[in-house]
């Protein structure tokens, strides 16, 4: 098995796990899923310059062949952006949980009036009671 297979299967496993978790109902799993997905994307971007072993990305007199430096720069940008985004979504999920009392991404509707609010409160209470 060569390293291309290793890389490809790693990306595949990360994407599969990421998609599975991103489709879960609770924010924590969704955030983890997005993180896995962004790891997979970073590896994928890195591989888009072709996999080359033991070659420098920058110019050197002694070296004849190089690896493509551009994907590395792109990955760096992507890492910075996704890192910031992940930090943001963690805080947002926490805030949302603390203010609405539910960590479901999509489960509960926003209370439109008092009646809805009461119904939601009951639903939350039930769900809480079922938890271990």
């Amino acid at each position: 098995m060569n390293y291309e297979f290793l890389m490809a299967s790693a990306i595949g496993v990360l994407v599969a796990g990421g998609i599975y978790l991103a489709l879960r109902a609770r924010t924590f799993q969704v955030v983890l899923g997005l993180t896995l997905l962004s790891y997979a994307v970073n590896l994928f971007l890195f591989a888009s310059g072709r996999l080359v072993l033991n070659r420098p990305p920058i110019w050197d007199k002694a070296v004849a062949e190089y690896t493509d430096p551009l994907p590395q720069a792109l990955v760096l940008t992507a890492i910075v952006i996704t890192f910031g985004m992940t930090a943001f979504v963690v805080i947002l999920a926490l805030r949302s949980f603390l203010e609405t009392g539910s960590d479901h991404v999509d489960g509960d509707t926003v209370p439109c009036d008092a009646q809805d609010a009461i119904a939601d409160g009951d639903a939350n209470a039930d769900r809480g009671a079922n938890q271990p």
């Binding site: 969704v30 997905l37 994307v41 591989a47 310059g49 949302s96 509960d108």
Partner: protein, 509 residues
């Protein structure tokens, strides 16, 4: 050629102005709010001036390619200003001024800490997305405008916003991942990220890689469709827009248009006739998806429970109508679509602002589509709502009518024009009924309930929606000039050789 005079640096100004204004507004807001607001307003005015100057420069068909750091095009990063980009810049700056004016007059900007800096960063992202000639920078500017939009969307806080905010952020993070995968594939296949260069290189892709190219193109188009809120990728939009601060929602009216703009920019440039398996790749899917979006949008207008929700559905419907015109990729229908794009952005903003004006006057009844007690300025606000509804549905005399008429006329050249006509005319009718229903509930019927919480009337908040409506009237009065410009922009964007020549400057100068 090294840019030497000030005028040569014009294309960078729409990025530099908000990038400078944002930190200064941030610093000023800590001590002197008035100064921060002034910085923000002056920055928007300067952007509008720059955008108009750019428009004047490119209106003769020149394509300005601005090389950052003076690195030549396929290697360095370029900004490209053509007719379409200039048009979008003018539209963004105009909309920003209206939204900012409304936020300042209604004191909505005082509800949170960082409204003005975020607003400026949002504009920087928008302007960058319109100007960039580089696919990776399109991603970066998308992220800039998204990060700012997360902050703006959550401005004012509250559980409803946080709930919608989580969904909005998550869906956009997934979109960003897909965007990056598409970029990685395209870079691996073509070895470039410059759009003009990529457009030339896709023709030389080996037959065994055609499948990959097609996948990359479809992924990229899906991301743009997600941003444009095309069915079935529209579900994030309603709640996000309906719960946002209305001034912010008015600015967001252009966010879906960024997705449409990216489609119009990237598809003819990169996935045009020479792209092999990926040639005009969204064509078979975009047309039905656009018709479904128009139907869903105006059905939502019909069924909406509040005015802000109705405006959000109107955004989806108008994007659908716009994409029906775009999906044929013909110069004439694309030109009609671009005219309708200008119109529908302003009309959506006007709807959000009128909804806010009503909500501010009805106290606890808000903008719900239900009769409430009498409120201040009922008749004038009612007239404003009627004008905005006329614009949004496309009835005469406002520019929506001209836009839809141009679209209908240009579509007759397409084979499936019967479907498109049926959808556009039916959705218009459904939209008219929907707006009439909400308008009669809010402005005609009244209950005798006294509402003690109705705030004291100040008419300052009428200014921004009136300006938006006046601009719509101006767009109908100047329809000849505007649609001629839109047609020229469409013809220019559909000829990728023009921008390739301007950007890559092979051997010239």
């Amino acid at each position: 050629m090294t840019p030497t005079t000030f005028i040569d640096h014009l294309p960078i100004l729409p990025l530099a102005i908000p990038a400078l204004a944002a930190p200064f507004a941030l610093l000023a807001m800590r001590r002197r709010q008035g100064l921060g607001i002034a910085i923000s307003l002056v920055s928007c005015l300067a952007m509008l001036g720059t955008a108009l100057a750019l428009m004047a420069r490119v209106s003769d068909g020149t394509i300005l390619a601005y090389e950052l750091g003076d690195w030549p095009a396929p290697f360095g990063i370029v900004l490209v200003a053509d007719r379409l980009a200039a048009m979008m810049l003018v539209l963004a700056a105009t909309l920003a001024l209206i939204a900012l004016l409304h936020a300042v007059l209604t004191r909505a900007d005082r509800k949170g800490w960082h409204f003005h800096p975020l607003f400026q960063f949002q504009l920087m992202g928008l302007n960058g997305a319109f100007l960039t000639g580089d696919l990776f920078n399109l991603f970066v500017f998308f992220e800039v405008l998204l990060i700012a939009s997360y902050g703006l969307m959550l401005h004012g806080q509250g559980p409803a916003r946080l709930k919608a905010g989580v969904q909005y952020v998550v869906i956009n993070l997934v979109g960003s991942s897909v965007f990056l995968i598409a970029l990685g594939l395209l870079y691996a296949l073509t070895g470039t990220l410059n759009m003009a260069d990529m457009g030339l290189r896709v023709a030389a892709i080996a037959p065994e890689d055609q499948g990959l190219l097609r996948i990359a193109a479809l992924l990229l188009v899906s991301v743009f469709a997600l941003k444009a809120a095309v069915a079935p990728l529209h579900l994030w939009l309603m709640r996000t827009y309906a719960v946002s601060t209305p001034a912010v929602a008015a600015l967001f009216a252009i966010m879906t248009k960024v997705g449409v703009y990216s489609l119009i920019r990237v598809v003819p440039q990169v996935f045009g006739d020479g792209a092999g398996a990926a040639a005009w790749v969204p064509a078979p899917y975009l047309f039905p998806a656009a018709m479904v979006s128009a139907a869903i949008g105006f059905a939502g207008v019909f069924a909406a429970r509040s005015m802000a929700e109705q405006a959000a559905y109107a955004v989806i419907g108008s994007t659908g109508t716009l994409l029906i015109a775009v999906a044929g990729w013909q110069a004439e229908s694309l030109g009609a679509g671009l005219y309708y794009l200008m119109h529908s952005t302003l009309a959506a903003a006007a709807l959000f602002l009128v909804a806010d004006v009503v909500a501010r006057r009805r106290g606890s009844f808000g903008d719900k589509a239900a009769p409430g007690p009498d409120f201040a300025d009922r008749s004038i606000v009612g007239l404003m709502f009627m004008a905005a509804a006329i614009a949004a549905t496309g009835l005469p005399p406002l520019s929506g009518f001209i836009g839809k008429l141009l679209i209908l006329k240009s579509l007759t050249a397409l084979p499936d024009w019967g479907w498109a006509w049926g959808v556009i005319l039916t959705t218009t009718f459904i939209g008219v009924i929907g707006f009439a229903r909400v308008g009669s509930a809010v402005f005609w019927k009244r209950t005798d309930q006294a509402d003690a919480t109705a705030p004291a009337a100040s008419r300052a908040d009428l200014a921004a929606p009136i300006i938006a409506l006046a601009l719509l009237a101006a767009l109908s009065a100047g329809a000849g000039w505007a649609s001629a410009y839109a047609n020229a922009a469409a013809a220019q964007v559909l000829d990728p050789a023009l921008s390739a020549a301007a950007v890559l400057r092979e051997g010239a100068q």
